[in-house]
């Protein structure tokens, strides 16, 4: 089997054992990228020389006897929303074209320290606002399963890169489902850790109270290894949880779920859900039962208002977070002809530098925070947030994990929802509640929909700091399904 088809755990072991060098592994992936990028467009920035340089440095560190983690020398692709000191960081926006941060995000620097080699920066919906990667200022990314379809979003470059074997691992951020939804529609594993479990420092903010960095991988164990490598308390992020990282790697290796209580969220299903998605989901639930879990139905009636609450809270925060892009200190400046005022230049730059979805959300958030509207919109949304957290809390008294389809549909065709923001927002229907309450949730592949042969994801939600449960249940499902399929779901994907 070629290097690009190996798991991250295998690559780490091969490199640590001296059977292959980090440079060889990096080059194998760079070659694959060169081959498939014209079709996929997962990356915004690739710099072969810098990557090989990094790999060489890791080989030297290992050669000098330095003890690095299990992923030392393994390549990774970073969503282009994490600051990287040696590469441009744009959030897929024209307003930050070419900007090079003089610092690393905590996620980036921790992974550098652990010896991971950066392959490049991946595409996303501009400032992580979207569910299809069509909102990138630098072109859309294509789903490796069907190049006419979206790879999910906002972390669509990261999901596509891993699904297309361009990278064994990648990072993403999940504000309303931006890791889980792309993972589901590309047939890979994507995890949203507990809010505050992974640092936001150096992550370009979309909605501060929701943004959560997390891992993408082709299997549950790899995701857990990556999760463990960048997680943990960061004093640079005041909302970071000062608690030990849940033992996610151990959980991923322990696929035993007998006796676990699994709750099926009653509200996620029915109208608006694709039949093939529901069919695979119900099979997955039966599978869990067959593996010894006790399955019950749980009702969370307010989850149906999570989507509107989210589309008030996230835009409100973003309207403020994106105010800093003003053409004064960095980034694009438009219209500065020596006569125009700073105010005019700011407004012209922001109009030219932000795409339509970003402008839409900035104005929506500005509206929701305005005096006279605050209580009815932002204030009420925050109360709904409390209600949703309480429903999660009540549910987790009854069950150990909750399950649902990750998305109501499989990957939709590029362009289908581009002019219909509300239809686009529905892609995050099942993922948003966990962002509002801050709990952990993962998406693992659970088969292909009959109608279109495209991947379906199973979402497993666990309480705050119960991230290990996501991995344990995810690993059990993965093990059982892969033995049924005779390999990974991705092995069924068409060749590129």
């Amino acid at each position: 089997m070629s290097l690009i088809h190996k798991t991250a755990a295998e690559l780490g072991a091969l490199i640590a054992g001296g059977e292959v060098t980090a440079v060889e592994v990096a080059e194998a992936h760079l070659d694959r990228m060169a081959e498939v990028e014209p079709k996929i467009n997962a990356f915004l920035h690739i710099d072969r020389e810098t990557t090989v340089e990094q790999a060489r440095a890791v080989d030297a560190r290992l050669g000098a006897g330095e003890r690095l983690g299990p992923l030392a020398g393994v390549p990774i692709a970073h969503k282009d929303i994490f600051a990287t000191a040696d590469m441009p960081t744009t959030a897929a926006s024209k307003i930050l074209e070419g900007w090079r941060p003089p610092y690393d995000a905590t996620v980036t620097s921790r992974l550098r320290a652990a010896g991971l080699v950066i392959l490049g920066k991946t595409n996303l919906d501009e400032f992580a606002m979207g569910s299809s990667t069509e909102n990138s200022a630098y072109g859309t990314t294509h789903n490796p399963w069907d190049l006419t379809r979206i790879p999910g979003g906002s972390s669509g470059g990261s999901s596509a890169a891993v699904a297309a074997y361009e990278a064994p691992l990648s990072t993403g951020t999940d504000t309303g489902g931006s890791i889980r939804q792309p993972a589901a529609v590309t047939g890979i594993v994507g995890m949203k850790p507990t809010y505050g479990g992974s640092s936001r420092y150096g992550l370009i903010a979309f909605a501060s109270s929701l943004d959560t960095p997390g891992p993408f991988a082709r299997n549950v164990l790899d995701a857990a290894l990556l999760h463990e490598a960048f997680s943990g308390h960061d004093p640079m992020d005041s909302t970071s949880v000062d608690a030990p990282v849940p033992s996610v790697v151990e959980a991923a290796r322990n696929a035993d779920i007998s006796g676990m209580r699994v709750g099926v969220v009653k509200e996620f299903g029915g109208e608006g859900y694709q039949a093939g998605v529901l069919a695979r989901f119900h099979e997955a639930v039966e599978l869990l039962e067959s593996l010894g879990a006790k399955v019950v139905e749980v009702s969370c009636p307010s989850f149906s208002t999570a989507l509107p609450a989210y589309y008030l809270i996230a835009p409100s925060e973003c309207s403020s977070n994106l105010a800093r892009f003003d053409a004064m200190r960095y980034g694009l400046r438009v219209g500065d002809d020596g006569t125009r005022s700073a105010e005019e230049v700011m407004a012209m730059t922001r109009a030219a530098g932000f795409g339509p979805e970003v402008k839409r959300r900035i104005m929506l958030g500005t509206y929701a925070l305005s005096s006279g509207y605050y209580d009815a919109y932002y204030g009420q949304a925050q109360k709904v947030r409390t209600v949703i957290s309480r429903e999660f809390e009540a549910a987790f008294h009854q069950v150990d994990v909750l399950v649902s389809p990750t998305t109501p549909t499989t990957a939709f065709p590029i362009g289908e929802r581009a002019d219909d923001p509300i239809a686009m927002y529905l892609a995050d229907l099942c993922t948003i509640p966990s962002n509002l309450s801050g709990n952990a949730a993962i998406s693992v592949p659970c088969g292909l929909a009959d109608e279109d042969g495209l991947p379906v994801g199973l979402q497993i939600m666990a309480p705050v700091l119960g991230d290990d449960r996501c991995y344990r249940v995810g690993a059990a499902v993965e093990q059982a399904l892969e033995s049924r399929w005779g390999g990974s779901l991705l092995s069924k994907a068409p060749a590129l």
Binding site: A83, P101, P102, S238, S319, S320, G338, L369
Partner: protein, 501 residues
């Protein structure tokens, strides 16, 4: 610039009642900024004390300075405030080039401290100024306006921005409306800022330098016609950079508003700027539309919930506050209200107290600082504390006087020498030869000489007109260039002329 009409102050007060409000911003003297680890040194080269956080680079996050939180609570406690059990930072959203994030991290409806008061004394009367809130926020950067005629913002070609100041912790102290101060309104405003400044200084939380902007004051003034019950529209005057300006700005605003109202005009709610040179206020550029700051809880920082036990400890550990101290010093020194006020105005408490601590009697310490030294300071236009002389040196001079080695006249010369940089009091005495003549033989010779040269006066004394001895003593003092012990000289004169008192 149009010149506003001003109504004479007394007339304005006869027709209108002023209502005051004061908003004071204090830069805390922390080592690092409010939300990042950058230094806070005043006057550093531009953009050398900046980092991703205080420049609002994408991805950066704030982390709250523990000492700033503690200092704010201590200020609240010193101002008799209640301390919030739970409160949050909030974002105040507005675009301005010197504010990197285009929102200011501040506090909105949940200030750290609220409902306090500060008593100030004006004209022998105690006025209680109620404090509405004390909250914590961050300062902005500084713009320099280039081009145009004035260097001011209007007419400039462009601006250049230094963000060293951006993110320095700023405490905002807001009073409730102050009513009933009548003609003393300007004095109350000044006394409040003075008292507040001393309180902050005693807490050691800020260097409170108005000229460097570490203490900034906005003055709100409104007038209501006599007999009315509703307050008038207020203006907010900024750029009030000295204690004296606080007083002048209030006075000028009262006079200006009175003239408008008396003329049937309407006061516009606006921000005005005080001009140190002319002593008047002018309007700021009016905003196109009402500001809507869209405050919301800061999601990047978690709520503050001060432990009540910790707050109690902070309260107990508060230093002696200036008003309490003044009462104590007055009792210890046994001086009149008037003298206390004079020392207060001259900022002399620390100096007098230190001089007493160095061994001088309180009366002497006060006499020197408020007399000779105040005169010298006034002459050279410096504050008392700015004189090149120490309390210990003053104490030494009083000791020399008490021991009879110096009289007052010589002591003044010694002070002059010390101020001129000639060394310590003892060195000045030595170098200038200022010790009192207490050699009996030398003094006797001078007395003989003076008696011989003033036969008329000597005869008068001999004939029993003892009062005439004064002229002879004066002669001895003159002949000795002030160094004689006048009392001993008088004894000798009477003895030699064969009379007794």
């Amino acid at each position: 610039m149009t010149v506003d009409t001003h109504m004479p102050y007394d007339e304005a007060l006869a027709r209108f009642e002023p209502v005051l409000g004061l908003e004071t911003h204090v830069e805390l003297g922390t080592a690092s900024k409010m939300f990042c680890g950058c230094k806070t040194t005043f006057g550093a080269p531009p953009n050398t004390q900046v980092c991703p956080t205080c420049l609002a680079f994408p991805g950066s996050l704030p982390t709250a300075n523990a000492v700033a939180i503690e200092s704010t609570i201590r200020i609240g406690l010193a101002l008799n405030c209640s301390i919030a059990e739970w409160c949050r930072f909030a974002r105040k959203n507005y675009f301005y080039p010197d504010m990197p994030k285009n929102y200011q991290i501040s506090q909105y409806d949940e200030p750290l401290c609220f409902d306090g008061y500060l008593d100030v004394e004006v004209d022998g009367r105690t006025v209680r100024v109620e404090i509405e809130r004390v909250h914590l926020e961050e300062d902005t950067g500084k713009s320099t306006h280039v081009g145009g005629a004035t260097g001011r913002i209007q007419g400039a070609d462009y601006s250049i921005v230094d963000y060293n100041r951006a993110g320095i912790p700023l405490v905002e102290i807001v009073t409730k409306p102050v009513e009933g101060t009548e003609s003393l309104a300007p004095d109350v405003a000044k006394a409040y800022v003075t008292e507040l400044r001393e309180t902050l200084r005693s807490l050691g939380v800020s260097d409170v330098r108005m000229e460097e902007g570490s203490l900034r004051c906005d003055v709100n003034v409104s007038l209501m016609p006599r007999g009315a019950s509703e307050w008038g529209t207020r203006t907010e005057t900024k750029n009030v950079n000295s204690l004296r300006s606080v007083e002048r700005a209030v006075r000028s605003e009262i006079e200006r508003q009175a003239a408008i109202l008396a003329d049937g005009g309407r006061i516009i709610q606006e921000t005005r700027h005080f001009h140190e040179d002319t002593g008047v206020t002018t309007p700021g550029r009016s905003k196109e539309e009402a500001q809507d700051y869209r405050y919301f809880p800061e999601p990047d920082l978690v709520p503050i919930a001060p432990d009540p036990a910790w707050v109690a400890t902070l309260k107990e550990a508060l230093p002696e506050l200036p008003s309490v101290r003044r009462k104590r010093l007055q009792a210890e020194w046994g001086v009149s209200d008037l003298d206390m006020q004079a020392m207060h105005n001259a900022d002399a408490f620390d100096l007098v107290e230190a001089t007493v601590a160095a061994g001088a009697p309180a009366a002497d310490a006060r006499k020197w600082w408020m007399g000779e030294l105040a005169r010298r300071a006034n002459e050279s236009g410096v504050a008392l504390a700015g004189l090149p002389i120490t309390p210990a040196q003053i104490a030494r001079v009083t000791e020399l006087v008490a021991s009879g080695a110096l009289n007052d006249k010589l002591a003044r010369e010694v002070l002059e020498g010390v101020l001129a940089g000639e060394g310590s009091p003892d060195e000045v005495v030595e170098r200038r030869g200022l010790r009192i003549v207490n050699d009996e033989g030398e003094l006797s010779a001078i007395v003989d000489q003076v008696i011989a040269g003033n036969a008329d006066a000597a005869d008068k004394v001999r004939s029993g007109k003892i009062a005439a001895a004064g002229a002879l003593v004066g002669g001895v003092m003159k002949a000795s260039r002030g160094k004689a012990d006048a009392a001993r000289a008088r004894e000798l004169i009477l003895e030699k002329l064969g009379v007794s008192e």
